[in-house]
Structure formats: structure tokens, C-alpha cells
């Protein structure tokens, strides 16, 4: 078997925790994360199986002061890996942590803040496309009599469903988190 592998994996916008778990499981199974690129192309290389915590942050402020941002995480023992679609990837070995497992956030207020940043940064553009393109086009194409518009109508229907699923997913995630933070 080779020493590297590539896996295709798609995580939607609000699924960063699923992605963190996925990367941790891979490392536990002896596959160290190298990088991610394209549309969810994950590169791994063989390593000694280890429990390593992977964490994603979404912070557009940080792009202006990248080196200070990375330095703060490095000081706290987190290795910076890369930036991908606005997310910064970090990891830290569980053996370097005390009895309690660490994350890059230590309270619910800051976890909720990150969720809001993701919403503003990633969901707002989607909402704009949804209301300014998909919805009007759906309406226009469904009233068009030319034969080509049938194809467009189907295309916009598919987009409509994809976008709707993304919004519902995010809404549910947000709601679940909000509930758990306000117990």
C-alpha cells in the first residue's frame, strides 16, 4: 500500500465539526492530514496512529494579520496547517493536553461568535444569490414558453433545493447550538 492517499469528501458550510472529527479519525487510523484543496480533495500520508485534535476557525479578521493570528495559536501549542475556503485548520496532539481535552474555543459565547462569523461570511452571499437569482429565475423560466427554458427551469429547481437544504441545515445547527448554550 502507498504512503499517501487521497479522499474525496464533501462537507457543507455548517459542518466544520464533522470535518474535525473526520480528520481526527483519520489520524487515529494512521493517516496524517496533509492538505485539502479543490472541491473537497483531502490528502493524507501514513503516520504513527495517534490521537490528534483537529480544529477549524473561521475568522476573516485574521487574513489581514495572518502572522500574528498564527503566532497566538502557535504559542498555545496549536500547529497551523492551512487556509481553505475561509477556514483556518489547526491541530494539537491530545498527549500535549492535560486531563481535559482542549479546543480552540473555551466558552460557548466564542463558539456562537464563530458561528455568526460563518453565517455572515458564507451564508449571506448564498442568501443574496438565492433571493436575487434563483427565486426570480425560477419564476421567469416557469412562465417562459420557449423550449430551452425547460432545461433552465429544472436547473434552477435543483439549485433551489440545494440552497434550501443548506439553509435548513444551518438553521438546525444554529438552533441546536443555541439551545445547548442556553440550557
Amino acid at each position: 500500500m502507498g504512503d499517501t492517499k487521497i479522499q474525496l469528501k464533501f462537507f457543507s458550510v455548517p459542518e466544520w465539526q464533522k470535518e474535525e472529527t473526520y480528520l481526527r479519525e483519520q489520524h487515529k487510523n494512521g493517516w496524517e492530514f496533509v492538505r485539502v484543496g479543490g472541491l473537497g480533495v483531502y490528502h493524507f500520508q501514513r503516520c504513527v496512529p495517534q490521537d490528534v485534535i483537529y480544529q477549524l476557525d473561521y475568522n476573516t479578521d485574521s487574513t489581514k494579520q495572518k502572522s500574528e493570528y498564527i503566532q497566538m495559536f502557535r504559542d498555545c501549542g496549536w500547529e497551523y496547517l492551512q487556509n481553505y475556503a475561509g477556514y483556518s485548520y489547526f491541530r494539537k496532539s491530545a498527549s500535549e493536553m492535560g486531563e481535559t481535552e482542549e479546543g480552540i474555543f473555551c466558552d460557548d459565547a466564542s463558539r456562537l461568535d464563530m458561528m455568526k462569523r460563518v453565517f455572515v461570511g458564507r451564508m449571506t452571499p448564498l442568501l443574496v444569490i438565492f433571493f436575487c437569482t434563483i427565486l426570480p429565475q425560477l419564476f421567469i423560466q416557469s412562465h417562459n414558453q420557449i423550449p430551452e427554458s425547460r432545461g433552465f427551469f429544472v436547473l434552477y429547481c435543483v439549485l433551489f433545493v440545494i440552497y434550501l437544504i443548506a439553509f435548513i441545515q444551518f438553521g438546525v445547527r444554529f438552533w441546536e447550538f443555541y439551545k445547548s448554550a442556553h440550557k
Partner: protein
Amino acid sequence: MDSHIQKVYVPMTETGFYILLCLREEAHGYSIVKKTEQLTNGEIKISPGTLYGSLSKMEKDGLIRFVREEEKRKIYCITALGTQVLDLEMKRIARLYQSMEAAK
């Protein structure tokens, strides 16, 4: 102090409180983490994501100010507004403590 500051920072998170407490002297992010650990006998360990987010927010809201940069580390210091907010929090916490003692 405007209502936005009141609403967001009174009462404030534990992390927020320790950040302001430490920034009565000039300090960079990681030294805030270390100092908080010392003050709380290792019970509170501020994580970098929380710290970075809090510092940017507090700087934007004028509670702390950027002083200078040393080896890629930004040094901050509390402002007059920050001190005002911290005083309010200290009084609130002292009141909580007194009530707790009185109820024993």
C-alpha cells in the same frame, strides 16, 4: 458608556473578565493566557480562538487599545472605557460574593 457596551459586556464572560484584568498592564495574548492560569491555579485555560476573537472585539469596541508589536505578537493595554467596564464587573462580582457569604 453607551448601551451597546452595557449590553455586550455587563455581565461579561469569564474570559473577557480575565483579559481586562490582565491588560491593566501592557501584555500580549499568550501572556494573558499564562497569567490567567497562574491566577486561577490552572483552572482556567483560555483557548486561542476565544482569545483572538475577544481581543479583536474589545479593540473594536474601544475597551482595549493596540500598543505595539513585538516578534509577531500584538501588545495591548486597557483604555479608560475598559477600566470603567472592569470596575462595573468587579462591583457586580463583589456583590455576588457578599450575597453568597450572607446566605451561608
